[in-house]
C-alpha cells in the first residue's frame, strides 16, 4: 500500500499541478474578458515540447533539470495530501525546508550552463527573491513548530485538525497572515514575477530551453505550484481529512494568488525584497515572539 502511494503521489501532484496551470490561464483570461485556452492547454504544450527537437548546452544543462525535478518529487513525498502522506517520518518539516531549495538550485545550475545573459539575470533575481521570502518563511515555520511542539508535518496537520487551524488560533494567526503576504512571492506570481519576466528578460532562467528540456521545465513548474499551495494549506489552514477537501482548499488558495496576480504590476527586485523584509518579516517576528512568550 505504501509503495503504491510512493508511486502515485508524484503523479497526483503532477496532474493537480497541470490542472492548476491550465486553470490559472483560463481564470486570467476571464479576468481580461477573454475566452482563454482550454483547460488541457498545458498538456498539449508539453506534448508539443517533447516531440520537438531540443538543443542541449552541455551535460549539466540536462542534469540540472533532473536535480530540480528530483528535489520537487522528494518534497511531494513528504507533503500530506489530505490524510495521505507517503513518507510520514518524524522530521518531515526539516526535509521539506532543505529539499525545497533543490528545485531553484537545479534550474540555476542548468540555466547557467547555457551562458545566456538573460538567464544569468533571472538566476540572480531568483536568488535575491529567495533571500527575501526565506527569512519570513523560516520565522513562520519556527513559530508553527514551536507552537505545536513538533517538527513533523503530519503531526502539525493532525494537531490543527484536533483544535483549530492556525488561522483560527490567536498567536498563530499572525504567522498565517505573514504567510499569506509572502505566498505570491513563493509561487512566483505577478507582483513578484521578477524571475521569469517575459517582456523584460525574455523569461529569465528558462530562456535557452527548447524541446524536451522545456517540457521538463514545465513539469517542474507544475510541481512547484503544487508544492507552494499544498504547503500553505498544510501549515496554516489545517490540511484536510480527505484528498477532495484538500483539493478544494488548494483551489481557494490558488484563486487568491490569481486575483493578486491579475491586479498588480510587477515590482523591481529590490522593491520586492524591501517589501518582503519589512511587513511579512515584522508580522512573522511578532507572531514568533507571541508564540514563545504565551506558550501553548
Amino acid at each position: 500500500m505504501r509503495i503504491l502511494w510512493l508511486v502515485l503521489s508524484p503523479l497526483i501532484a503532477l496532474a493537480v499541478g497541470l490542472f492548476f496551470l491550465g486553470l490559472s490561464r483560463r481564470v486570467m483570461a476571464r479576468i481580461h474578458w477573454r475566452y482563454g485556452p482550454p483547460l488541457y492547454q498545458p498538456l498539449i504544450e508539453i506534448f508539443r515540447y517533447f516531440t520537438q527537437k531540443g538543443s542541449s548546452h552541455g551535460v549539466l544543462f540536462g542534469l540540472g533539470i533532473v536535480l530540480s525535478l528530483a528535489g520537487s518529487i522528494v518534497v511531494i513525498l513528504f507533503l500530506p495530501f489530505g490524510g495521505i502522506c507517503s513518507m510520514s517520518g518524524s522530521g518531515g518539516m526539516l526535509v521539506v525546508l532543505y529539499m525545497m531549495l533543490l528545485a531553484p538550485l537545479g534550474i540555476a545550475l542548468s540555466g547557467g550552463e547555457a551562458a545566456n545573459p538573460n538567464a544569468s539575470i533571472g538566476i540572480s533575481r531568483k536568488l535575491m527573491l529567495a533571500l527575501g521570502y526565506e527569512l519570513p518563511f523560516l520565522l513562520i515555520v519556527l513559530a508553527i513548530m514551536t507552537h505545536y511542539d513538533t517538527i513533523s508535518l503530519v503531526d502539525i496537520v493532525s494537531a490543527q485538525r484536533e483544535t483549530a487551524s492556525a488561522f483560527a488560533s490567536f498567536p498563530l494567526v499572525l504567522s498565517g497572515i505573514a504567510y499569506l503576504l509572502i505566498l505570491p512571492a513563493m509561487l512566483g506570481m505577478r507582483p513578484f514575477e521578477v524571475v521569469h519576466a517575459p517582456q523584460e528578460i525574455s523569461s529569465g532562467p528558462i530562456a535557452e530551453y527548447s524541446g524536451p528540456y522545456l517540457g521538463l521545465v514545465t513539469i517542474q513548474h507544475a510541481l512547484t505550484t503544487f508544492i507552494g499551495i499544498s504547503l500553505f494549506v498544510n501549515l496554516v489552514w489545517g490540511g484536510a481529512g480527505n484528498p477532495f477537501v484538500f483539493f478544494l482548499k488548494m483551489l481557494v488558495v490558488l484563486a487568491f494568488g490569481l486575483f493578486v496576480n491579475a491586479a498588480f504590476p510587477r515590482l523591481r527586485v529590490e522593491q520586492a525584497v524591501r517589501y518582503l523584509w519589512r511587513w511579512p518579516t515584522l508580522i512573522a517576528f511578532v507572531g514568533l515572539i507571541l508564540v514563545v512568550t504565551l506558550g501553548r
Binding site: 490561464r25 483570461a29 481580461h32 474578458w33 477573454r34 475566452y35 482563454g36 485556452p37 482550454p38 492547454q41 498539449i44 504544450e45 506534448f47 508539443r48 516531440t51 520537438q52 527537437k53 531540443g54 538543443s55 538573460n118 517575459p198 517582456q199 525574455s202 523569461s203 528558462i206 530562456a207 535557452e208 530551453y209 527548447s210 524541446g211 522545456l214
Partner: protein
C-alpha cells in the same frame, strides 16, 4: 477547429499538438507588428486557439515576419529562425516580405524573403487586419494536417542554396553553417 475530436488525437497526436500550441516569436519588423497586440489581447484573443507570443525563439514554433525586412534585420531574422527548434513554421505578413511592397526599390530592404528563409504561407495586404492572422492560422492548420508546412525540411534540404543567397546580401556571415551539406561532400 477539430481540437475536441478525440479520434484525431489518437490518429496523429504529434500533428494535433503542433497545430494547437503555436507559440509565436516576439520579433517585430516593420509596421505590421501593430496588428499583433490586438490579436493577442482581449479584442481578438488568439490564446483560445493556442497562439501565444513566446519570449525567446527557443520556446517558439511560429515565426511571423510582420512587415518589410531591411538588410540589417535580415541578419537577425536568419539567426532567430535558426535558433527555433524543429518543426517550425514561418508566415510572411503583409505585402513587403512577399515582393517588397511599397519598398520594392529601396536600397536597404530585401524584396523576396522566401529566397533567404523558407516561408510556409503568406498573408497578403497592406496592412492585413488581425482577422487575417486567424485565417492564416487556420490555413496553417490545414497545411500541417496535409504535411505541406515543410519549410524546415526545405531549409535542411536546400541549405547550401539558402546560405549562398544570404551571403550574397549580407556578405561573409559570422556564424558557422547550421547544417553540414551532405550533398556536396
Amino acid at each position: 477547429m477539430d481540437r475536441n475530436q478525440l479520434t484525431k488525437w489518437f490518429k496523429a497526436p504529434t500533428k494535433m499538438a503542433h497545430k494547437y500550441s503555436l507559440h509565436a516569436v516576439y520579433f517585430c519588423t516593420g509596421c505590421g507588428v501593430i496588428e499583433i497586440p490586438p490579436t493577442i489581447t482581449a479584442r481578438w484573443d488568439a490564446e483560445r486557439f493556442g497562439v501565444i507570443p513566446a519570449a525567446t525563439p527557443r520556446h517558439a514554433n511560429l515565426f511571423l515576419i510582420t512587415g518589410y525586412v531591411s538588410v540589417k534585420t535580415l541578419r537577425a531574422v536568419i539567426r532567430t529562425y535558426e535558433q527555433m527548434p524543429e518543426p517550425k513554421f514561418t508566415v510572411g505578413f503583409g505585402s513587403c516580405p512577399i515582393n517588397g511592397g511599397m519598398y520594392w526599390d529601396s536600397y536597404n530592404t530585401i524584396n523576396q524573403l522566401d529566397k533567404y528563409i523558407p516561408i510556409d504561407g503568406w498573408i497578403a495586404g497592406c496592412m492585413p487586419r488581425p482577422e487575417a492572422i486567424f485565417v492564416a492560422v487556420t490555413h496553417l492548420w490545414t497545411l500541417i494536417d496535409k504535411d505541406m508546412a515543410d519549410g524546415y525540411k526545405r531549409y535542411r534540404k536546400h541549405y547550401a542554396q539558402y546560405r549562398a543567397n544570404q551571403e550574397q546580401v549580407l556578405g561573409e556571415l559570422e556564424w558557422p553553417p547550421l547544417f553540414q551539406s551532405e550533398r556536396e561532400g
